[in-house]
Symmetry: C2
Subunit: 322 residues, 2 copies
């Protein structure tokens, strides 16, 4: 039987693709190209109707989401997004109003984060498929990579966890537009990324694949393990509410869902107090949720018990998607 992509899974596919090119590249949220004393950052992220767009979502919200998830990859590297391009494959039957709503959403997000639309492509196709390209910059000594976490570092996240997961599960239950739109409500953590870079974060990535998947990837790259304190997780109010409503564990909402765009990062213990104080001053929420440890195990400490976290988070091709 011939191997299909469904049998191999996203990471397997990516590894096989990389072998074709015969050289390694970094596993970062964006590619970094050295240019004098800074790096140019380039990233691309696609969404399509079938996999990423919940029925009932507002075009403006969708457009904002689309731009935000691309800018998020620049933010995760400590960079400032500067330019954006979008390549849109659009069905003939799409209403102009819907397209222009999406564009207004993209424009609003770019404006908010000081990013300029410089070009793109529009093509006709059977299914809506949108690819964004974000270009940014970061000083050489401020770049955040996935590699760099060291045993003893604290593990931290920006914002709260579980809000988009809660929306997704509420939407699955209700199919209401309200929840469809909330699934897509994300902000790229641009000033947060720059702040944590300035304060000496040792590694970072965004939570587009979920906390568990992020930890698994960081564990592999940094040959380390992680230990999270359940009591320290900044569970979003919406996640607590959905947890009661739907009977889903808050930890699962907070840790196992892809589609949140907070930043997860590591930072030496000694530097956390100064970061926390700056964060408070600038109204940014940052929580220490655990530690980098020796070994390769990711575990959760809950009520004094240790649980090994095996879930692989959100991975395309082998699991169900929203």
């Amino acid at each position: 039987m011939e191997e299909t992509l469904a049998r191999i899974g996203e990471r397997g596919i990516i590894n096989k693709i990389r072998n074709v090119y015969g050289y390694a590249w970094e596993d970062d949220d964006a590619a970094a190209i050295g240019m004098g004393s800074s790096y140019m950052l380039v990233t691309t992220d696609s969404i399509n109707r079938e996999t990423h767009i919940p029925a009932g979502a507002n075009p403006v919200t969708l457009g904002y989401f689309f731009a935000a998830i691309n800018l998020s990859d620049i933010a995760a590297m400590g960079g400032k997004p500067e330019y954006f391009l979008s390549a849109l494959t659009l069905p003939r039957s799409m209403r102009l109003k819907e397209l222009l709503g999406m564009e207004r959403g993209i424009a609003a997000c770019l404006k908010k984060y000081g990013t300029r639309m410089i070009g793109g492509d529009t093509k006709e196709g059977a299914e809506l498929c949108m690819t964004g390209i974000a270009i940014g910059a970061v000083a050489r000594d401020r770049i955040l990579r996935r590699r760099g976490a060291a045993s003893g570092d604290l593990v931290c996240v920006t914002g709260t966890l579980g809000r988009n997961a809660a929306a997704y599960h509420m939407w699955k239950r209700t199919r209401s537009r309200l929840w469809a739109n909330r699934i897509l409500r994300v902000e790229p953590r641009v000033s947060e990324g720059m702040l944590i870079a300035r304060h000496g974060a040792t590694s970072a990535m965004d939570l587009s694949d979920g906390v568990l998947s992020a930890l698994r990837q960081l564990s592999r790259l940094n040959r380390c393990g992680f230990e999270l304190d359940e009591a320290s997780l900044p569970i979003d109010g919406a996640a607590r509410h959905a947890s009661m409503e739907l009977g889903i564990d808050t930890d699962r909402l907070a840790l196992g869902f892809g589609g949140e765009y907070e930043l997860l990062f590591t930072i030496p213990k000694a530097r956390f107090a100064s970061l926390a104080s700056s964060a408070r001053d600038s109204g940014v929420k940052i929580s220490a949720i655990g530690r980098v440890i020796a070994g390769r195990v990711c575990s959760l400490i809950k009520d004094g018990n240790r649980f090994v976290m095996r879930d692989r988070g959100f991975e395309h091709f082998t699991r169900e998607n929203p």
Copy 2:
């Protein structure tokens, strides 16, 4: 009745999208970002199963085509392509062999043109949709734009015309793999673009939309007209053959088809001889096919008669595509 994209057409859509952003950008093949004494060039081009991929095409040929059409946009600006990213939306049922074939095609094209794959994205979706991103560089005084043609300039093209058009029509007739693959056989004219920039070309673009569409766009941007000499058109042998076989006019094959990736450019008459001599020395085929004229009419001189060319070339959303 609500307006759908099919009713508006590609250029109408692009204009409406641009209005959302409230500022103008150049109508060039790639975006140009000033960086010291040079420009960084960025471009994106998508293809999808329904619109661009003839049934029976070989994955390796398809991958090569996909990379080539992106590099072509850098070539059209006089630039050297340096980096490439690809965002792939892939159906679960796709065979791994097919994907890896495409990647080998991409890798071969990038290798040939000294371009490095630096990243990308893979997502699952209902239909194959591939978006490429090419990044290149060009010196500030060597950039080729669409704006710049002046009355009296010669109009020139690289290579021959009508080869891909011929393949398309032969494929439509025969549905054979041979012709499916030939539709996709293109090379980005990278050294040609750099050569014509060095020799003072005043405007350039690639022929992805066909000669007529290119002239119409240059006419609008440069407020000029064009006059082509039918006898000077470098009709490809395959186009002559297909013309006889299928009873399609060679001019139509050479001028009206999108999907050829030669460069069309304008150059002052006085500089043509030097360009032609350099081109000969480097084994590059360049043909002067007409002149830039005052007014806004594009016409073809054939057997002493003048024909006004009204065909709009290849435009998405309103016409049939391959």
